[in-house]
């Protein structure tokens, strides 16, 4: 037994009552995510409104958890959806299976799919977690704050750049 060490411990715990807790009160305070945070997917359009996705299914092939389903269809002059020859008639991501690895983003030759910042993806039903093309094309409803990009999103890792 070390009585004085024990008393010191009591002092430490008592002192901490008066300190400000470091807990982040989540629903009220949303901690900014890092710039390269991989959250919910987004599909993108060209500036002229055409979809970037050409329905090549490379993302579905790259997906390790097999959660992307792409059904392609031919573009016609009357019905032109994407810039390429074909477009994705159905584009679904099953987010209950997705592991947010970002391979789809890497596999995509047209930068049509990226992973966004949204991480609040809870639903009451599993069916609601299957995101369709319309949902992925739409702007995210909630804005997630992002950390300072200059500070964190360095292409050269800090430990290499400083040496």
């Amino acid at each position: 037994m070390q009585p004085f060490g024990t008393l010191k411990g009591f002092g430490v715990t008592f002192k901490h009552i008066f300190k400000q807790p470091i807990t982040q009160q989540y629903p009220e305070y949303k901690r900014p995510v890092y710039p390269r945070f991989r959250g919910r997917h987004r599909l993108h359009r060209h500036a002229n409104g055409l979809e970037k996705c050409v329905g090549c299914s490379l993302c579905a092939a790259a997906c390790p958890s097999d959660c992307i389903r792409v059904v392609a269809a031919e573009n016609t002059p009357e019905h032109r959806v994407s810039a390429g020859e074909r477009y994705a008639r159905i584009y679904e991501i099953n987010l209950s299976r997705c592991i947010f690895c970002g391979y789809c983003e890497l596999a995509c030759p047209f930068d049509a799919i990226t992973l966004g910042n949204e991480f609040e993806l809870s639903e009451y039903s599993r069916d609601d977690l299957i995101y369709t093309k319309d949902m992925l094309l739409a702007e995210p409803i909630k804005r997630i704050p992002v950390q300072d990009a200059d500070l964190y999103d360095t292409p050269i890792p800090a430990y290499k750049s400083s040496s």
Partner: protein, 337 residues
């Protein structure tokens, strides 16, 4: 109804006043238990730089009610191999004995309300202190029976540890209050408080006894650093591993009420009970009770759990000799002076 009047026969108050007081005290103790869980979580949280529960109601003040509703609504499952009667009896025995003991602790000087003499205690038994220890020992049966009847190795080990620890430390606990009993020349808590009101608080002459009482009391209520009976890293949850729902709630309740009773006993025996300047008796009692309870919570956050051999060595080789020497010395001094 003569058996009901036993406690208050000496003060001549009608039996129904005792009954009303009993109802009030039991409800206050239950209320105290509910909010002790919240305060404990809050204080421990602040000591660990957390907030503690703060979601249910303003500042989390409705958390105990939410916990209660959750516990009551849970399914009362039943292990297939459990022994029916004992499995159900265990928590009730523990909770019943826990709630009984508070009745002999005095919390006020007594008043005259509407022409009736109302004493500041539910019952004044001449052997109050013995009664508390006796009923407390009965309460151990609740833990042992529950752990044994649920037919699980963790519960059995937990109840064996509870049994060994509580029996070991009860000796020191009883011996540590012997000094107080010798000084007050009575086993009645009312007399002990009265003696402290006339004289000095016994925490000063009996500081060793007070220390032993608090340490042995921590072990008796199986709280950290003596929480080996429910060491969650080794034993899942100890003797109540196989309990769920309100049966677990009863066990939890009995532990916390035992803690409150023990703190009340510490206040009564060593800190002058309800005596204090300016404020009325019950207020002083609650203030002192809160201080002691805070010390218990503080101890729980600060100290890591003892090893089992350390626990036994501390109980038998440190606390017991100290308590014995303290009691003998007090006896000698009281006789000589």
């Amino acid at each position: 109804m003569t058996w009901l009047v036993v406690g208050s026969a000496s003060s001549g108050e009608p039996w129904w006043i005792s009954l009303i007081k009993a109802v009030i005290v039991i409800n206050l103790v239950l209320f105290g238990f509910a909010y002790l869980t919240l305060i404990e979580r809050k204080v421990m949280g602040r000591m660990q730089l957390r907030y503690g529960p703060n979601r249910v109601g303003p500042f989390g003040t409705l958390q105990p009610i939410a916990d209660l509703v959750k516990l009551i609504r849970k399914e009362s499952f039943f292990p297939a191999a459990a022994i029916d009667v004992l499995y159900i009896l265990g928590p009730f025995l523990a909770a019943f004995t826990a709630m009984t003991t508070f009745s002999v602790i005095p919390w006020g000087p007594g008043w005259t309300i509407g022409g009736y003499e109302v004493t500041g205690y539910v019952a004044d038994v001449p052997i109050a202190l013995l009664l508390i220890f006796a009923i407390g020992s009965l309460g151990i049966y609740g833990f042992i029976i529950g752990g044994w009847a649920s037919d699980s190795k963790f519960a059995l080990l937990g109840s064996m540890r509870t049994c060994a620890q509580l029996v070991s430390y009860e000796v020191s606990l009883a011996l540590s209050v012997l000094g107080v009993v010798i000084m007050a020349k009575s086993l009645s808590l009312v007399d002990i408080v009265a003696a402290q009101g006339a004289d000095v608080w016994y925490v000063i002459p009996q500081i060793v006894g007070f220390g032993i009482f608090i340490l042995a009391g921590t072990a008796e209520t199986a709280r950290a650093p003596f929480d080996l009976p429910e060491a969650e890293q080794e034993l899942v949850a100890g003797y109540h591993t196989e309990y769920g729902g309100m049966r677990f709630g009863l066990y939890s309740m009995s532990e916390y009420i035992n803690l409150i009773t023990l703190s009340g006993l510490a206040v009564t025996l060593f800190l002058g009970g309800w005596h204090g300047p300016w404020l009325p008796g019950p207020v002083w009692f609650v203030i002192k009770l809160a201080v002691i309870l805070f010390v218990f919570i503080w101890m729980r956050t600060t100290l890591p759990r003892l090893r089992y051999d350390q626990l036994m060595r501390f109980g038998w080789k440190v606390l017991l000799p100290l308590a014995t020497v303290n009691a003998v010395l007090t006896a000698i001094l009281v006789v000589w002076i």
